[in-house]
Amino acid sequence: MSELRISGLHVEVETETGPKEILKGVDLTVATGEVHAIMGPNGSGKSTLAYSIAGHPKYTITSGSVTLDGVELTAMSVDERARAGLFLAMQYPIEVPGVSVANFLRTARTALSGEAPKVRTWVKEVNVALEKVGLDGTFAARSLNEGFSGGEKKRHEVAQLELLSPKFAILDETDSGLDIDALRIVSEGVNRFTEAGDRGVLLITHYTRILNYIKPDFVHVFVDGHIVAEGGAELADRLEIEGYDRFVKAAKANA
């Protein structure tokens, strides 16, 4: 079993008026075989958590740690973290014009596994993975994320789970902007990724909708830069009825 452990994580960003603290002490442990949902209102710092763990240069970790099987990730470069087994499915995947999906996937796979995949089986493997998320054979020749619809971007992110096979995947609002069919396809992709029970998922979402398709083992309510409530899947049901208001008010009262 592997473990992604976030302890006492404080993160700030540079703003026009100076540094601003966004994460105010996050503690969370995700083990392989577990799906954790992080739910919270807009602006609560959910995405900051995702990007900080992945190592985006915009965010500065002021204290705390993130370890994968005891190895400190925060001291590693972005690509070293990925090679350690971490994957971030982005809400807004970046366009890289002129770099084909096929070339990108092969380069990433080579970097992660340390050797180039065999041409004969690799092309088929890519096509099968893309087909599973409803992307046709011409997709691999397109420029990375360029001109993709919102749905295509998310499907492509999820296809990478299968092809790049990380230990831990952070999904940053992968459900946002998806219609009902795309949501189902993307969710099925995530479920295939976790079905063997040897992967961990941190699912960041604003809505409970995706939890009809992906059953979380744990739900964490995230407000004002930290976790304010934890529970099982039933907590999501309660949020669906009550909304975040109760937690936001409580956080303000405590501030």
Binding site: P57, R81, F87, T107, A111, A116, N145, Q160, L164
Partner: protein, 390 residues
């Protein structure tokens, strides 16, 4: 000549653009620049060597050609070359080029000729001062691809005129593959026939200094023009492209996209993209863009897009210019998939150029330019065990 362009000439007898000198074959009409003129202010005049004060040397490039059947390439008199030209020289360098060439060379593709293979012309310099006036005439409804490649060294004064007939389709590629120390200056003029489709590709890869004025206009409505450019500027090099698209006919389109990478102390690129939309040019579409990737300290990229619009009755007009280092977000995305930083940089540069090279549509040229991109990458980020392909 169509009724519409007759009207255009009657209404606008004089060039309406404020940015462009009046063309003339007479060298005396193009005084020696001081460097303070708008069109010369970016150019290191001292390094233009003989191009501004050259005398006829009698030397020309050594040409190697591959001509499909039906296509002719032959010397013509200087007078005939003037008659067939798209426009008179717009600067002193091109006026001297035409004068000192002493004769023209005409490449003619007769009407209705459809070529499946590209026409290949390679001009090699052997270190001397040379001048050429190349006149390309593409007959109505002909379809052709022409690739002109410059190799070797020397001081090359270049006047090239490309006249494309009504309904014709032409891809014209000029690759400056010069050895170090070469100076290449000149003027390329393109006339796009009624409903003709013209794509030009200019690749400036070598030499010490390249300064090209690339002018285009239309012989009637319906013409479409695409101009792509790729350049690599290394330490001490000066590469200058001055574009001018004259939308002098209605319902014409132009799309200009030039991209360069700069690296090394004193690398200097200049791109000036002017578009004039005349009163008569209703319903046109134009977009110009220049992107410069600055890979090291000590480089300078000047990029100046200009639009002169004299009618509001257009479909669309726009331009953009970006000059910068690597995009951090692109590098983050690639690295978040485990790709090491050097490899991510390679991919981004590779993509930056592949994005435009793949639109050329001539496989030999695309392959040649991607090899040049790889060679450029070797210098910046070093060799890699892993081959990258588009």
């Amino acid at each position: 000549m169509t009724a519409v362009s007759n009207v255009a000439e009657a209404v606008e007898a004089n060039p309406a653009s404020h940015l462009h000198p009046i063309p003339s074959w007479d060298v005396a009409d193009h005084p020696l620049p001081t460097g303070r003129e708008e069109v010369w202010r970016f150019t290191p005049l001292r390094r233009l060597r003989g191009l501004l004060e050259a005398e006829a040397s009698g030397n020309t490039l050594e040409w190697t050609t591959q001509l499909p059947a039906g296509v002719s390439l032959a010397p013509i008199s200087a007078e005939r070359a003037r008659e067939l030209s798209v426009e008179a020289p717009i600067d002193r360098v091109s006026a001297l080029a035409a004068l000192n060439a002493g004769r023209g060379v005409q490449l003619d593709i007769p009407a209705d000729t459809e070529l499946s293979e590209p026409i290949l012309l390679t001009g090699n310099g052997t270190g001397q001062a040379v001048a050429e006036h190349l006149v390309i005439t593409v007959g109505p409804r002909a379809k052709a691809t022409i690739v002109v490649r410059y190799t070797g060294s020397g001081t090359f004064a270049d006047k090239t005129d490309i006249s494309v007939g009504d309904g014709a389709s032409l891809t014209f590629v000029a690759i400056a593959d010069w050895d170090a120390g070469t100076t290449h200056g000149g003027h390329h003029a393109v006339l796009v026939g009624r409903d003709a489709q013209v794509r030009t590709v200019t690749a400036s890869l070598g030499g010490d200094l390249i300064r090209l004025a690339e002018n285009a206009r239309f012989a009637g409505p319906g013409g479409s023009l695409e101009q792509f450019g790729v350049y690599f500027v290394d330490a001490g090099q000066h590469i200058e492209h001055r574009m001018f698209v004259d939308h002098n006919a209605p319902h014409t389109t132009s799309h200009v996209d030039y991209r360069g990478a700069l690296q090394g102390q004193g690398a200097h690129s200049v791109w000036v993209g002017d578009v004039l939309i005349r009163k008569v040019a209703e319903g046109i579409t134009t977009y110009e863009t220049n992107k410069n990737l600055v890979l090291t300290d000590g480089c300078r990229a000047d990029s100046v897009p200009n639009l002169e619009i004299e009618t509001g009755e257009i479909e669309g007009a726009g331009h953009s210019s970006t000059t910068g280092r690597f995009d951090d977000e692109q590098l983050f995305y690639l690295r978040s998939r485990g790709i090491p930083e050097d490899e991510a940089r390679r991919l981004v540069v590779h993509g930056f150029f592949a994005d435009i090279i793949r639109r050329i549509g001539v496989p030999e040229v695309e392959a040649r330019l991607m090899i040049a991109v790889e060679a450029e990458l070797e210098v910046i980020v070093g060799g890699s065990a892993q081959a990258v392909s588009a």
